[in-house]
Amino acid sequence: MTTTDIPDGDDALAGEYVLHLLDLGEREQFEERLRDEVSLRDLVYQWEAHFAAMSDEIDAVTPPVAVKNAILAKIAPPQKKSPGLRGWLIGLTVAAAIAVLAVGTLLRGPEELTPSFQAEMSTPEGTVFLVAEVIPATHEIVIDRVLGEAPEGRVLQLWLIAEGADAPVSLGLLQPEGETRIRVPDDIAPGVRTGTIAISDEPPGGSPTGQPTGQVLATGTFVDL
């Protein structure tokens, strides 16, 4: 091994870049050049493709289910940050007509109308994934269906099993897609935070018996936001 004959071509430099061997300063310089130089980008892509063949010797390892759930939660469509804001604006619009209602809404303020606890519900295989958020000020549960749908000809029904309760209480049916808002009756609301919520599939119109009749697809418990 000698230190003569130092190759300083872009070929090797791009290879070093792809291997992450450049130090921070060199790396930044290189990336600066990458923005403008198409041929340099091509070199990078070529090295990436060549080197990727080495990954064949790496065995697949199944990651824990929690990782997928965390990812799905992060890519969930953005919740309206203060879901009450829309109502608040409508409140403003109709303020002249219904002063009392508008004042009530204004007094509450949007910050109180943000969700303060959240539950994730998923099937073990990750085929259905929902995020439920609770806005205590309005006793609302906002359920966002990130993934999955009801089986053909069925609907999804949301249940609350309050802590210590022996039977679930129906909270209502989910919309066929997207977001569903459900107002929890005042007498049940205090039990939501510590209870378990569940989703079952039911015939159209919901369970005829008041108890889940179909398969319980997913359950979840709440954590503070």
């Binding site: 430099l13 061997l21 080197f51 063949a53 010797e57 065995d59 390892v61 990782v67």
Partner: protein
């Protein structure tokens, strides 16, 4: 069994914000990418965190996949490796744990195991074979384990600058062979 065409389709649909395609893509490829993260980080909880970053990145960047001209697994593996090495470089103190990654490997080969064309693999192996064994080892260490010049210099017992000169020359040779 997912073919490369299936995976390419999943990436394309992910680029269109199709969550169900993204979920399928995760199911089909997360084992391999988790393996890549574990190899570089050799720490399970860090690898899990990075795997999350990897798929969030894939979700946001799926529409730019085609620009690279990569095969789908090359692109996914490159994203995973880059983020894993970024994490490795950010470590302030070495936290490598002793847990050996190899015991964790799935018994069942995943659908993606044969994802890199065997011709590509054969070409790379042949060209690595033309290098001195120490050089081929250094290239592999840098790619698969994320070794730095400092790591490599210590491993081979040579000064850092020597290591760098040596590796750059090896890359040059490798490149000549690969484009032959």
């Amino acid at each position: 069994m997912n073919t490369l065409v299936d995976i390419e389709e999943m990436i394309a649909r992910t680029g269109l914000r199709d969550r169900s395609a993204f979920s399928d893509l995760y199911d089909a490829t997360s084992g391999k990418l988790f393996g890549v993260c574990l190899r570089v980080l050799n720490n399970r909880s860090e690898a899990e965190e990075v795997l999350q970053e990897v798929y969030i990145r894939i979700w946001h960047k799926a529409d730019s996949y085609a620009v690279t001209g990569h095969s789908p697994m090359t692109w996914l593996i490159t994203v995973a490796r880059n983020l894993a090495i970024d994490r490795l470089r950010r470590r302030t103190a070495p936290t490598r744990d002793i847990e050996t990654v190899f015991d964790l490997a799935d018994d069942q080969p995943g659908p993606e195991d044969a994802a890199i064309a065997s011709s590509q693999r054969a070409q790379l192996n042949a060209c690595l074979g033309e290098l001195e064994p120490e050089s081929a080892d250094a290239v592999k260490r840098a790619y698969l384990w994320g070794d730095t010049y400092k790591d490599l210099a210590a491993r081979h017992g040579v000064p850092l600058n020597t290591m760098r000169t040596w590796l750059r020359r090896s890359l040059q040779k490798l490149r000549e062979c690969l484009t032959r």
